[in-house]
């Protein structure tokens, strides 16, 4: 009894310090007014509306699959950042850095978290898409957000694909070789693709193994040092930036399209 009282008092005192008040403007959200302000005043939370349809917060309805995908994206950003402290994207160092990550770094589960997280994100994004489809949530007025979602799906796969090369082991280069060989067959733009051999000037082929779509992707004729650097930059900077931007659009549109869908 006494203990509880003193705990309350302590709480009260902490909450009333200048430090606490400067951080959490509204105090403990124990009234409706304060609950509103808590959401509005927080940069992360204010992506949410102040009030949500009750059906939209149910696990039964959303499976939290979109939320999981986003959370996994955050996990991947964080563990990826830690990995960047150790990893150097050159063929001399990349594989060795992988070994060091496995053997030398204390609490070395960053690489595991990053790899399994990436697999998990691919799976959750599919399940999210499946949920959105099965609830008919792509129907008006959410057509555009479905499209943003499709782009996010592609970006998720590309993120995973570009990251696959970075360990620079046999699994990595051959998976990327198989994958990028497809670009060789792009109609017109890949040198083995339909009609590419017909693009010639004065009898000189313009689309060759040294100038086609695959060459542009890999920065070379084989999956080598340039490809590693290219994939590293795409994986760590370029695609995450676009994906993060589109996620912001995606969440904003969930709100602006009337919140999580529900029967009219």
């Amino acid at each position: 009894m006494n203990l509880e009282k003193s705990w309350r008092r302590l709480q009260q005192q902490v909450v009333e310090t200048q430090v606490w008040k400067s951080i959490f403007r509204v105090g403990i959200p124990n009234t409706n007014r304060k609950r509103v302000l808590a959401v509005l005043g927080n940069v992360v939370l204010h992506l949410h509306p102040v009030k949500t349809r009750k059906s939209g917060v149910k696990m039964r309805y959303t499976w939290c699959a979109g939320g999981m995908t986003f959370f996994l994206f955050l996990v991947l950003t964080f563990t990826g950042l830690l990995l960047m402290f150790y990893y150097r994207p050159t063929i001399e160092y990349a594989y060795g850095d992988m070994l060091d990550l496995r053997e030398q770094v204390p609490f070395g589960i960053m690489r595991e978290m990053h790899r399994w997280g990436a697999h998990a994100m691919v799976i959750t994004v599919w399940i999210h898409m499946f949920r959105v489809f099965m609830t008919g949530s792509y129907k008006p007025p959410r057509e555009f957000n479905w499209n943003v979602g499709v782009v996010l799906l592609v970006l998720t796969l590309l993120l995973s694909f570009t990251g696959y090369l970075l360990p620079w082991d046999q699994l990595a280069i051959w998976a990327i070789t198989v994958g990028s060989n497809m670009a060789r067959a792009t109609p017109l733009a890949g040198y083995e693709g339909p009609f590419a051999a017909q693009i010639a000037f004065n009898g000189v082929n313009l689309v060759t193994a040294g100038s086609d779509a695959r060459f542009g992707l890999l920065g070379g004729r084989i999956v080598g040092a340039n490809a590693l650097l290219r994939f590293y930059v795409l994986h760590c900077v370029f695609i995450p930036l676009i994906a993060a931007f589109l996620m912001a659009v995606h969440f904003w549109r969930v709100r602006k399209d009337g919140g999580i869908s529900g029967p009219l």
Binding site: R35, T52, S55, G56, P140, F161, T177, A183
Partner: protein
């Protein structure tokens, strides 16, 4: 025991597995008792039982426990579970709708709750659960690392990352420009087109099957068969030289599979007309070109007057043309597979001169 395994090995061969899963999926979707709690338990028990049985087999164990294959097993269970769960809720709602009641979600959708605490707490709990799962998974299972990269020594089989193995499987039936470029592009375009093609206003914002049967059947056909089933085939049943191996078969790199595939032009000119192949490509490939033109050009028109009359009238010309073409292209994938399995057909159009093979 070996007899059972032989039967399963045989059932898993691409032609039979794809047929079974197609018939099974569509049939199951119309089989109401499956989408109840009992049906779910039955499905789950079958899946678990199948795995438990399979894990006693050493050949299966080798393939299934490669580290990068573990997530795919996870995906199998998750997709299976959520498929059942969506259909389960859809049928709950359908029963209500049949009685003239609103869907279950309706009760809640009129009420509003404060984001803080109701939503924030759900998110927090999901976040904690997700973190725990990720940490445990990372401690238990080491990330794979193979030998250092060696551009001179290709592994056999060389496989793309698992989520692209459906596309790699398509390479058996299509040239790379189709399997690797055109079809993936059309998957993306097709997904994006869905909200604009589907004009059915019902079933927006709640689970339901009876209000949008054909949309759901078509989407699940693409998602489950052409994506998930082909990935499973590509991961677990394709071994050295991309040959097929049953789940209990040893991946023998020396397995020989005879390849004697023929093209439409060969069938038409050599087999039927008993003449040599014409030298000029247009004449040689005319039969195949006409087939493709018929399929893509004339069939939509014919269908709009017959089988799809209802859709044509409801959707209007532009929506109908785009929708039907996407649908026909999706259908062309299994059609080409069957042509291969039944007639050993290699190409419908085979214009080597332009590397243009369909």
């Amino acid at each position: 025991m070996t007899a059972i395994k032989d039967i399963i090995n045989w059932l898993a061969s691409p032609a039979i597995a794809v047929t079974l899963s197609m018939v099974g999926l569509v049939g199951a979707m119309f089989c109401k008792p499956l989408w109840t709690k009992k049906g779910g338990i039955l499905l789950f028990a079958t899946l678990i039982g199948g795995f438990a049985f399979s894990f006693t087999d050493p050949n299966f164990r080798i393939v299934a426990s490669m580290p990068d294959n573990v997530p795919i097993l996870g995906m199998l269970f998750l997709v299976g579970f959520f498929f059942w769960y969506a259909m389960y809720q859809a049928h709950l709602n359908d029963a209500r709708l049949a009685k003239g009641l609103p869907p279950l979600e309706k009760e809640d959708s009129d009420k509003k709750v404060f984001t803080w605490p109701d939503l924030v707490y759900v998110e927090l709990i999901s976040l904690i659960v997700c973190s725990i799962v990720m940490i445990l998974w990372s401690i238990v299972l080491k990330a794979p690392l193979e030998e250092p990269a060696n551009p001179g020594a290709a592994p056999n089989p060389a496989k793309a990352p698992w989520y692209f193995l459906g596309l790699q499987e398509l390479l058996v039936y299509f040239d790379p420009w189709m399997a690797g470029v055109v079809l993936p592009t059309l998957i993306i375009v097709g997904l994006m087109a869905i909200p604009y093609i589907d004009t059915n206003p019902r079933g927006n914002g709640y689970f339901s099957f009876r209000e949008r049967k054909w949309e759901i059947v078509m989407f699940c056909f693409g998602f489950i068969i052409l994506w998930v089933v082909l990935i499973i085939l590509g991961t677990f049943l394709r071994g050295p030289n991309w040959n097929f191996f049953g789940p209990y078969e040893y991946w023998d790199p020396n397995k020989l599979v005879p390849l004697n595939n023929v093209s439409v032009s060969e069938i038409f000119w050599v087999k039927w007309l008993k003449t040599a192949l014409p030298a000029f490509w247009l004449k040689r490939e005319l039969p195949g070109i006409l087939l493709v033109l018929f399929y893509m050009g004339a069939l939509p028109g014919l269908l709009s007057k017959t089988l799809f009359k209802r859709f044509y009238e409801k959707m209007g010309t532009v929506r109908y043309v785009v929708g039907v073409n996407l649908f026909l292209i999706m259908l062309a994938v299994p059609i080409k597979m069957y042509l291969r399995w039944i007639f050993n057909l290699k190409y419908i159009v085979n214009i080597q001169e332009f590397s243009f093979n369909i």
